[in-house]
Symmetry: C2
Subunit: 448 residues, 2 copies
């Protein structure tokens, strides 16, 4: 067998990185649960026709087929594809199980998704997402839109990402599609969606080309294009953005509704976590299915890589004709975020294994004795390995050193006279397996 090689777009973290990922995911999950979101996992596959409902994404889908299937795999009626996000499967799950669920239904979902995109920095073909959504039947109160960014702030806010200035490591940019659509309508644009798509490209192509695009695709006059760009330039860390919008002199009922909703989002954010959110009127979430508040999230110091967490309110994603299930949610791109942080060396871990103690071995015949010591330590929650061989103690200590295991335990004779050595300081003290306790900071690997 020749040496295997990586597959582009399918990242594999080394165990220390995986431990960091687990730490981050545990934190996210714990926060989601603190807010009362219940866990869900959906199957990895969906019927292809479900996945293609949003036409734009069809190019990204991976089909699956059984190797021994009769005939060539096809994109036919029974075709299955790997999910490319967790929102489409969730909408399907809600429709399928509506009769069994309690509404409003708050769920979180942390799973891999797959996209056949061309891989590049921060873009993968297989990656981990962590989503929350709240859906209700028929009507979803808009206060839920104000809750979502707080959950995100708590989930990612405490990550140990430098930030000597005490700032949160993330900035949630919020807007509301009703503001954009109402404003565009208010200035007389016939195709607000076309305008929205043009403005959505502002960061990438700049104001001049957006103005040209607005003229071309939305039939905007110079004055209308200017107004759109003026709106997009508004940004504030508090509800004051609303006065700035109103100062543009446009009136429209949908605009007013959107302003009130975004004001509520900002008021809640300021009360809960000052500096977490900015109302940024250029955020549009282009072609997606959003109908109210929209969110994007910058990782401070990595702004140029774009959003690491985005979402919004969607009124029409889950509907079977009779019943409608409006929802709001956000998705954290865990792999994307960690890829950037690992690339920058911004996160490290204190050791490469969970092990806190290595029990040394005087000779192979005394392994049962070392096993008993390890048992006693594990029973009290101390991660422990027994030395794989009865090599010289120096070699056993190097086994621990190479993995960052902080303690080596030397069994005494006949169960008495045990000693434990902190191999960082060299300090060695007498110890009893049923009693000895490492400092709390050494029990598990720590992230810095």
């Amino acid at each position: 067998m020749s040496k295997p090689t990586p597959i582009s777009g399918f990242p594999e973290w080394a165990p220390p990185q995986r431990m960091i990922e687990q730490y981050v995911v545990d934190r996210i999950r714990n926060t989601f649960e603190l807010y009362g979101f219940a866990p869900l996992e959906t199957r990895a596959v969906e019927p292809l026709d479900q996945l293609l409902r949003k036409g734009e994404t069809s190019k990204e889908v991976y089909l699956i087929s059984r190797l021994q299937e009769e005939g060539a795999p096809s994109a036919g009626e029974d075709a299955l594809g790997l999910h490319f996000d967790l929102t489409v499967p969730f909408a399907r799950y809600v429709l399928e199980n509506a009769g069994k669920l309690q509404f409003p239904f708050r769920r979180y979902q942390i799973q891999k998704v797959w996209r056949g995109e061309r891989p590049q920095e921060g873009r993968y073909r297989e990656f981990l997402q962590a989503d929350i959504d709240i859906v209700d039947r028929d009507i979803l109160s808009s206060h839920h839109e104000a809750e979502i960014p707080l959950v995100l702030g708590d989930a990612l806010g405490g990550l140990p990402l430098g930030g000597a200035d005490g700032r949160l490591p993330i900035l949630v940019q919020a807007n509301n599609r009703k503001i954009l659509e109402g404003f565009y309508r208010g200035i007389g644009l016939a195709d607000p969606l076309a305008a929205l798509r043009a403005v959505d490209r502002l960061d990438r192509i700049g104001p001049d080309r957006v103005a040209a695009l607005l003229a071309e695709t939305a039939g905007a006059t110079d004055a209308q294009a200017k107004a759109c760009l003026a709106l997009a330039e508004i940004s504030a860390p508090d509800p004051s953005f609303a006065a700035a919008v109103q100062a543009l002199g446009v009136t429209d009922p949908l605009l007013d509704e959107g302003l009130a909703e975004l004001v509520a989002v900002m008021e809640n954010a300021v009360a809960h976590a000052p500096g977490l959110c900015v109302a940024d009127l250029r955020i549009a979430r282009g072609l997606d299915y959003y109908t109210g508040t929209v969110y994007e999230t910058q990782l401070r110091g990595y702004e140029r890589f774009g959003s690491i967490s985005s979402g919004g309110r969607y009124d029409n994603l889950a509907s079977d004709g009779n019943l409608r299930f409006p929802g709001v949610g956000i998705s954290i791109g865990v792999t994307r975020m960690l890829g950037l942080l690992f690339g920058a060396g911004a996160l490290s871990i204190s050791r490469s294994v969970p092990t806190c103690v290595l029990v040394a071995l005087a000779d192979e015949d005394r392994r049962p004795e070392s096993n008993r010591i390890a048992d006693a330590l594990r029973r009290r929650g101390i991660p422990t390995e027994v030395s794989p061989s009865a090599a010289k103690y120096g070699k056993q200590i190097r086994y621990a050193e190479r993995r960052g295991i902080p303690y080596v335990w030397f069994p005494g004779a006949d169960g008495v006279g045990d000693e434990v050595k902190d191999i960082r300081s060299g300090e060695q003290v007498g110890a009893v397996p049923d009693v000895w306790q490492p400092p709390a900071a050494d029990l598990r690997p720590t992230i810095a």
Copy 2:
């Protein structure tokens, strides 16, 4: 959109079941870490030629292809398939990263795998596996084979599965391929592997048909077939099996080596967890790549469904010609085990959401006040939701009841006079958000 339907073989647990699954997986993971196994996740896909190295499994593989790919997806050189277990990807990972890993390398891996098999009870097309393996370079000491069942016993032994008789909920059946091959060779069978395959079918087809198969495929005489069956009938909860094997009067160096190794496994198991292991000489793990100890695991009360966790020692799975990485491991079929337990109603959870407290809402204008109370409770680790609407208190209490949320918090006026009600007992007491603490048993959902 018409009502979606389940896809056979791709199970989706409801959120309460998913909470149970998380509890079980957390327990497994914690145990793996207590034994010093480091976490790893490999990508979901492998090159098809890697997946087909074990020819027998080719029928089970799912191919993936990009929808927009030129030409029909093929099983050609670049073809990718979804992994069908975690051992083959792990062996590939070790070869690919050998230069960066510390050996012996202890890793665990908890991931979904996919097989295109016909679904049936306890058999799925998508399922979760939890694996541990220890690999070394060139030589792997056999004491590792004695460690594996202990990890399994600790990971699954404490699950709340009835067992009023105090027995562990699992029974690990261990054997050693060297015993079987050495014994078959010792009685003069020319093709020990053919004999092994025949004996492996004992549980399914019975002794008479195994004897016929032994004659047919391994050229066994009546006496040889009888000896094979006599060996297969030996079973003991301790090292005494060895004397029973020796009493059959067969001698062979490989047999002796296998006996010594299995004795060590049983001695270690008896010392650590009496009743966890049985030496069962009929266990063979048929066509797999095992070369030493092999394990299967019965879930007590569900024996008829077969093994829920199996594995063994493999000497030749990871090798690039020059370097060889022998290993030993075991895989827990988490979805399989939970599918059986859910089907029997053997596991339940105390509520259907993580939420411990629902903060009630007197009217919508006072939501910020209820949000502040929720914040204070969450900061102290108490999962809390705020009522989605300012409906009558009776309706808000029913919101909690339907989800099993044990406490409803009633804000007083202006931040004083708050009360909290245990809606199970009806008891209502004064409470302060920064101080009140639920009983530990109510903090998180509990599994019974």
